[in-house]
């Protein structure tokens, strides 16, 4: 364990939790204030990327293993598509959220949007962290013989 950059470490530890909380706020309050799945996903991934930058890539991968990232990527897409499939099973068009509350379509739209935005958030978090892992964990550039 290296002990320099003490201030950065302490501040990061303080901030990571707050960033995650803020991401969740942007995620679930997106329908009343600026925000939504994409922004929330980016903010959420910032928490992990910051942790990775300050505490090394390996410790970030311990917190958020690569295979989990890959599953999350797919899960988010599936949440989005699954919402559409659910509306289809209820006898409505794909992604017609009226299906969730036929008597009060506004509520249906609200619920449907919350769910798909959650899917977007999950995927964006996964993609951003996966891109960071891919670039940060890149092996040294190829030697000439490999071509």
């Amino acid at each position: 364990m290296i002990f320099h950059h003490l201030i950065l470490r302490v501040v990061t530890k303080l901030l990571v939790g707050t960033i995650v909380l803020f991401a969740l706020y942007v995620q679930f309050h997106g329908d009343f204030s600026p925000g939504g799945g994409f922004q929330a996903g980016v903010i959420m991934s910032v928490a992990f990327i910051l942790y990775g930058i300050v505490f090394s890539l390996e410790s970030a991968k311990k917190v958020f293993p690569e295979w989990v990232v890959h599953k999350l990527l797919a899960l988010g897409v599936l949440i989005y598509a699954g919402t559409g499939v659910a509306t289809m099973l209820l006898g409505y068009d794909f992604l017609d959220y009226d299906a969730f509350s036929p008597l009060h379509p506004t509520h249906g739209q609200h619920w449907g949007l919350l769910v798909i935005e959650f899917g977007v958030g999950v995927t964006v978090t996964g993609v951003m962290v996966a891109i960071y892992y891919a670039f940060a964990g890149r092996p040294p550039s190829m030697s000439d013989e490999e071509w």
């Binding site: 295979w67 890959h70 599953k71 990527l73 797919a74 899960l75 897409v77 599936l78 598509a81 559409g84 499939v85 289809m88 006898g91 409505y92 068009d93 794909f94 992604l95 017609d96 959220y97 009226d98 036929p102 008597l103 009060h104 379509p105 506004t106 490999e146 071509w147």
Partner: protein, 524 residues
């Protein structure tokens, strides 16, 4: 609960109403499911099952629109032109069927080929990417919303770059090939979306049918014209229209065999469909600019492609690379069919899309089988292999004959129609006689490069010191399915001709507008 009274009556949708969407949705959902399950053993069956479902759906759709009219599906319950619309008519149902047929036939072939050429730990991600690419191509064709075309184009392109780069475990040059394709493809997609932006600026809508209505209302202004130019160049890049074809030979040569088979038969075809859709449905051919573009730009470029790419193909020493150059030449025939601008020409173009898709997929499968057994597709390594792998080589022969357009194979019909289309136009412009002649002459060039392949496969002495066995059954079956259909469509010409002709009439009829002739799928 005061607003209950305002809630509109809702008629429950049945499965059959959802078919236009399920066509795209089934393979799309397969991709994340494959990643989530993450099992190497389950990835292939899942991909295969969803491809087969997709094929069945596309056949049902094609049969229900073969008499004309269209089926519409609005996403999210938002009625077009505001919402995204999927619109299936005779033209795109034809292309959808081609893509999903190829998808379902190539996957059994891919099973062995991918095991040989891709690292084992990447298999599930590989098939996920494959399904995304498949989804993108189907979506580009199925959608009736211009911006949605761009979204699906990007889905298919991005996954294609990854798929091409997978060839790197065999040959590192796949990486530069994928990178070249990425740069060119991105430029193409950017041009396309710039063109769409201009159209949106001029008309305020993105729905293709609505665009067509509004463009014909306001006539040609400069924005609409430059939008047209951007769209043509952007899609021209994806189609590999000469001289925008430079990405194609490398990408097809170094990609894993199964990927090449799939892409060669579908990717350029889907882009060509989009090109046709924009030239004929969104902009009407009477739109003077479009007509001039076809005659002054498409026609000469198509003819140059037919000759130059065929000549280059004749000098290749690598089976896959030869086929890649031949693809550029064959795209030339399809563009020629569009540029001739009559019913026969368009029918020929659509038919050639289908026939070439089958023949080229078959030939690339043959190349893939040879790579599996000999480790390379260079003529030097595969010389005389035809005697050791007669079943594979037999299928290659049929594919090669169809590529030339020998009577009795599917390729003959489309080339014949192309010549006929040019002759029809020659009554008012005798230059079209030269066009007809060029089709014949460039087919002779095809004889040269195909003969060269036959000579390598059969007439050269095989190296008896290396034992080479026949390709596995999983490869032979799809190859012979394609070979069989090349011959069958060569003799029973009516079936495909009728579909292609209806598709061409549909395109030439221009846009069907926002509300005419909707078909109800449930009643068919």
């Amino acid at each position: 609960m005061a607003n209950i009274a305002h809630v509109a009556e809702h008629t429950t949708r049945s499965l059959i109403d959802h078919l236009p969407l399920l066509q795209v949705l089934v393979p799309f959902c397969a991709a994340p499911i494959i990643v989530l399950i993450g099992s190497r053993r389950l990835a292939w069956p899942l991909a295969f099952i969803s491809s087969v479902i997709s094929l069945i759906i596309s056949i049902i759709l094609m049969l229900s629109v073969r008499e004309g009219g269209y089926i519409t599906y609005s996403l999210g319950g938002w009625a077009p032109p505001l919402g995204i619309e999927y619109r299936i008519d005779a033209t795109n149902a034809f292309v959808l069927t081609l893509i999903s047929m190829i998808g379902a036939v190539v996957l059994p072939f891919a099973y062995t080929s991918v095991k040989d050429e891709i690292r084992t730990r990447d298999h599930s991600l590989f098939y996920a990417c494959w399904m995304l690419c498949f989804t993108g191509l189907l979506g580009m064709v199925a959608t009736g919303d211009a911006f949605n075309v761009f979204v699906f184009l990007e889905i298919s392109s991005l996954s294609t770059y990854v798929l091409v780069a997978q060839g790197a475990s065999k040959d590192r040059r796949a990486l530069t090939a994928a990178y070249d394709y990425l740069i060119m493809g991105t430029i193409g997609a950017t041009f396309f979306v710039i063109g769409l932006g201009m159209l949106y600026m001029a008309t305020g809508t993105l729905n293709m049918a609505d665009l067509a209505d509004r463009i014909s209302d306001q006539g040609a202004n400069r924005t609409v014209r430059s939008g047209f130019a951007f769209i043509i160049v952007g899609m021209g890049l994806k189609v590999a229209m000469f001289p925008l074809h430079l990405w194609l030979p490398k990408a097809y040569t170094f990609a894993p065999s199964a990927v090449t088979v799939f892409l060669s038969a579908t990717a350029t075809k889907a882009a060509l469909y989009v090109l046709m859709r924009f030239v004929f449905s969104v902009y009407h051919p009477d739109f003077a600019f479009a007509k001039n573009t076809l005659e002054i730009i498409f026609l000469p470029l198509a003819i140059i492609a037919m000759f130059s790419a065929s000549i280059v193909a004749a000098f290749q020493i690598n089976f896959k690379k030869m086929l890649a150059y031949s693809s550029i030449a064959q795209v030339g025939y399809m563009l020629l069919g569009i540029a001739i601008l009559n019913e026969t020409g368009l029918t020929a173009s659509l038919l050639h899309m289908f026939n070439h898709g089958f023949a080229k997929a078959l030939l690339f499968m043959g190349a893939g089988a040879l790579v599996l057994r000999t480790g390379s597709s260079f003529y030097l390594q595969i010389s005389g292999v035809g005697r050791k792998m007669p079943i594979t080589a037999g299928a290659i022969v049929i594919g090669g004959l169809s590529l030339i357009g020998v009577p009795g194979t599917a390729g003959f019909l489309s080339k014949w129609l192309l010549i006929q289309a040019a002759l029809e136009r020659s009554s008012d412009n005798s230059l079209y006689l030269l066009v007809a002649l060029s089709v014949v002459l460039s087919s002779l060039l095809a004889v040269i490069y195909v003969w060269r392949l036959f000579e390598v496969l059969f007439l050269r002495e095989p190296d008896l010191s290396i034992p080479i066995s026949e390709a596995p059954v999983m490869m032979i079956i799809p190859m012979w399915i394609l070979a069989g259909s090349c011959v069958w469509f060569g003799f029973s010409t009516d079936l495909l001709y009728d579909f292609a002709n209806q598709a061409a009439l549909n395109l030439l009829g221009g846009s069907m507008g926002m509300s005419d002739s909707v078909l109800n799928l449930g009643t068919n």
